[in-house]
Amino acid sequence: MNSELEELYQQVILDHSRRPRNMGEIADGAVHVHGDNPSCGDEIHLHVKFGADGGIEDLKFTGQGCAISQASASMMTLKVKGKSRADAGAMLSAFHDLVTTEVSDPPKLLGDLRLLQGVRKFPQRVKCAMLAWRALEQAMEAGDKEEHVSTESA
């Protein structure tokens, strides 16, 4: 078996893509961001509910796409739920570094997300891994409006 494929599609990642966690919508009081990757058709609807302290109280997503985009979204929701904006922002930036640069010792704050490090060897798949994170970034900047975010600049 090809080792780069084994690294990219680890069992945990395939498991998340087959059975994504936190799938769904949040009916009330959540920011809704629609993110898409027009070059391949992946899309995500991310609902984020912020608490009184501004932290991420809850988040859910629906969407469709490849294993990488679905697993990244699913693992992201597990990781940032209950975190402050500052912590979530730090994770976003650490995750971006993880999938785009050679990080020899990925930060522990990323937890299981470190398994997505294999993406860095597949530059054309970075957008897949980042889609949910771009949506989260937009949600944190948006406040309470509906937003649309795309991996391509308009």
């Binding site: 090809n2 780069e4 494929l5 599609y9 070059s39 058709g41 796409g65 294993a67 597949f122």
Partner: protein
Amino acid sequence: MQQTNEVNWQAIREDFPILREQIHGQPLIYFDSAATSQKPCAVLAALQHYYEHDNANVHRGLHGLSTRATEAYEAARAKVARYLNAANEDEITFTRGTTESINLVANTWGVKFLREGDVILLTEMEHHSNLVPWQLLAERTGARLRFVPVQEDGALALGALDSLLTPEVKIFAFTHISNSLGTINPVADLCSAARAVGAVSLVDAAQSAGHLPVDVQAMGCDFLALSGHKMCAPTGIGALYGRAELLEAMPPWHGGGEMILSVQFERSTFKKAPGKFEAGTPNIAGAVGLGAAIDYLEGIGRAAIFEHDTKLATYAHRRLEELPGVRVLGPRERGGLVAFVMEAAHPHDLTTYADQYGLALRGGHHCTQPLMRKLGLPGTTRASFYFYNTIEEIDRMMEILENAVRFFA
């Protein structure tokens, strides 16, 4: 039909040095010729020869080298005309490819002749290149778009034609072979249906010109667009066939050198077609390369190429259906490509997987987003073939895909 059983397909592979490349340490299996074809040595040699012996600007130099360049360029035009059986070589305009050819028609014929309330008839299986130029034209002129539906089996709903082809339809533009389904449309019938209501017809031959005999007079089309790079020629060269009478009535598009008869400070007069559509220094070497590609394809024979391509596509279709959770799109009688969806894996995961084994597939919407939306698919995986591909390569593809099913399921 010419005799098609004498071609040594294995020997033909030797004409394509790139087929000896390795990808991720594995022998390349190139199944993406619908995106762009590979180039034979004969075409590469023609480019080299042109630049080493004939290179100069065309049509205006009075020196010997310019005469040679002009002759090479015009000889290529004559080859395209003969290849398409155009009545006259002046009916061939060189462009950058199918996209530019269609934009040329939309921006000249379309802008001059379309009015508010007119209808542009397309089909639901068009590539974005035969959709977006018409959307822009509709916005500009107030014309409306209308679409011939695609049926579940991947064929056009021809029964709907009568009600769609009303007198308001001024142009009917459709693809010869669908790049995402493989469907071969009955182009002669569609052209004659258009003519019956006084509409002009445009055939997108991007997927057909290098794959089967194309005869514009037998087809009865008014315009036909093709890309050189999908038929063994370099990128950046293509052609538009237009019936002389229509070209005559069309205004120029781009202004500049080469396309004028006489220029004054306030106004200019223009050459006849095709000169008036070829502003600026053209892609001379590209045209020479296209001419060489045509010679090469005719040496093999388009009937033989079509037979070979469809044999591969039919075989791949049958083998793919044996795979669990795989659905093949499009009709059984098809051009040289097969698109499919696999339950276990998204097209992008599948193409990433295949690539690691040297297999070049295409995953995504194939520039037919509205069609994918209608079919309820985020995209498909496509294997597209050309005459340099083999049954053995398809068998290897199937091994890789069988492993992929196990890997992702």
